[in-house]
Amino acid sequence: MSAPLLSINGLGVHFGGLAALSDVDIELNKNEVVGLIGPNGAGKTTLFNALSGLVSCEGNLELEGKSHEWPQPNELVDLGISRTLQGVGLFPDMTVLENVMIGATKFATGGLIRSALGLDIRTEKVLRSLAMDALAKVSCTGIADRKVDSLPYPTTKRIAIARALVSDPKILLLDEPAGGLGAEDIEWMNSFIDVISNRCSILLVEHHMDVVMSVCDRIYVLNFGKLIASGTPEHVRNNPDVIEAYLGSSAGKQ
C-alpha cells in the first residue's frame, strides 16, 4: 500500500499551560473521507489550525510519505491543501466570482507586478474560467456577479467550498460543512461530499452525526485534546468511550 497522503504524528498544541491537543496521530489516504468528531472544545478546529499554520505546534507531518515542516498559512494551497472555515470566511463586499478567484491565485502565472501593469489579461481570463468551473460544481454559476453579503447562508457555504476547490487540492479540510444548514441543504452536502471524494481526500470536522456516519470512511474521535477512538463509523458508534464522552459532555451542558 502506498504512503498515506497526509500523516500526522504526535501532534501537540499548547495555549499557555493548557494542552489543546496532545499526542494526536492522524492519517488520511487517497480518496478517503475521514471524520474528526468530538464534543465542543475537544480540539478539532485546533487541529485544522495547526495544519494550516495558524497556531504553532509540535509533532511530525508527512505528506505523501515525505517529512515536511508545518506549513505557513499561505503555503497551504501550494501544498495541495485547501480548507473552509467554520464562519464561512468569505469577503462580504466582493462578488461571488471574486471570492472564488482569490482561491485560484496560485494559478496566476504572470506574477503580481505584471498584473499591476495590466499585462496579464490572459491570466485574468484563466482565473475567471477556473472560478466559473468551481462555481459550476456547487451549482452557483447563476449568482457569480452577486455580492456575497446579499446571499442566504446555505449558499455562502457552497461558495466557500467552491473557493476551496478552485485550487484543485489533493486534501480538502472541511470545517463543519453542514453546520447551520437545514435538512435539504444537508442532503445536498452529503451527496456533494460523496462526489468530490472521487477527486480529492477529505478531512472533515462535523457535529451532525448523520452526515459524519454517512459520508466518512473512517472517523477519529477527540476529547479534551486527546484521541479516544478511531475506526469505521460502525466501530466508533459502538465504542463505549465515545458514548461516554458524548453523553458526559451533553449532560454537563444541561
Binding site: 494550516s52 495558524l54 505557513q72 498559512p73 499561505n74 497551504l76 494551497v77 501550494d78 480548507r83 472555515l85 470566511g89 469577503f91 463586499d93 466582493m94 471574486e98 478567484m101 482569490i102 482561491g103 491565485t105 496560485k106 496566476a108 503580481l112 498584473s115 499591476a116 495590466g118 496579464d120 491570466t123 485574468e124 482565473l127 473557493r163 485550487s167
Partner: protein, 297 residues
Amino acid sequence: MRLFSTLLIGLSSGAIYSLMALALVLVWRSTRVVNFAQAGQAIASTYIGYLVISRTDNYWLALPVALVAGALIGALVDVALIRTLNKRVKSGPAAEMAPVIVTLGLLGLIRSTVGMIWGGDLKAYKAPVTNHGFTFGTTTIPFSPYNLLIVITAVIVMAVFSIIFQKTNLGLSLRAAAFQPEIARLAGVRVDLVRTIGWAFAGGAGAVAGVLVTPSNSLSPNSLDLLLVLGFVGAVIGGLESLLGAAIGGVVLGIGLAFILEYVSTSLAFPSAFIVLILVLLIKPSGILGKKGGRGA
C-alpha cells in the same frame, strides 16, 4: 462666473488632497498603520523630482521618476520597518502604537536628511504649463492650464488605481489582504508581498501629489506637512477604508476650502478644515461617505 471659477480652483486643490488621502488610505487598509511618514516619503520623492528638473529642465521626466522613487521608498519603509515591527511586536498596545510612532519618527528623520542633502532653504521649479488663468472674452479666471494639468494627472492616477483594484488579480489580492489577511493567506494570497505593493502604490500617489503641488508653493523639507494633514481630513471624510471615499473626500475638502477662502475669510479656511476633521470623527467616525463596517474598493 465667480462661483464656477471657485469650484474649479477647489477641484484642482482637492485633486491633490485626494492623492494624499488615497496614499494614506492605501496604507491604512493594507497594514492598519496611520502613516505620518507619508509627508516625508512624498517630500523625498519631490526632491528627487526637483533634482531631475534642475538637471534636465524636464517636468515630464521628473514626474514619473518621482513616482517610481516614491513607490520604492514606500516599499522600503514597509519591508524594513513595518513588516519587521509587526513580526517582533505581535500583540498588546505596543503592537498598534509602535508602527504609528515609528512613522512619526521616520517623518522627522526623512525631513532632516533631506535638509542635510539639499539644505533648508526654499527651492522652486516651474510648472510645465502656465499658471496664468484661462481667459474668456475679457475676464480671466484664476483656474489655469496648470490647475487643469493637476486635475487631469490626478484623474489618470485614480483611473489606473481603479482599474487595478477592480479588474486585476493583484487588485483582488490587495482587497482580500486588506479585508481579512488570515483568510487571504489560507486561500494562497501572498499577503506580505501584497501589503508591500500597497505601500508602494501609496508612495507613488504621495509623490505625484508632492510634484504636482510644489510649483504653486515652494519646496522645503517641511513644505508638504499641511498637505499631509489635509490628506488626513480628506481620508477621514471618505471613511478611511474606501479609495473612492478618499478621492471624493479630498475633492469635497478642496471645494469647501476654496469657497471659504473666496467668500468668507482667508484666515478661517484652514481652521475650518480641522473643525471638519474633528466633527466628522465625533459625529460619524465611519466618514460622511463611509458605510458601517464596509470596506469597498
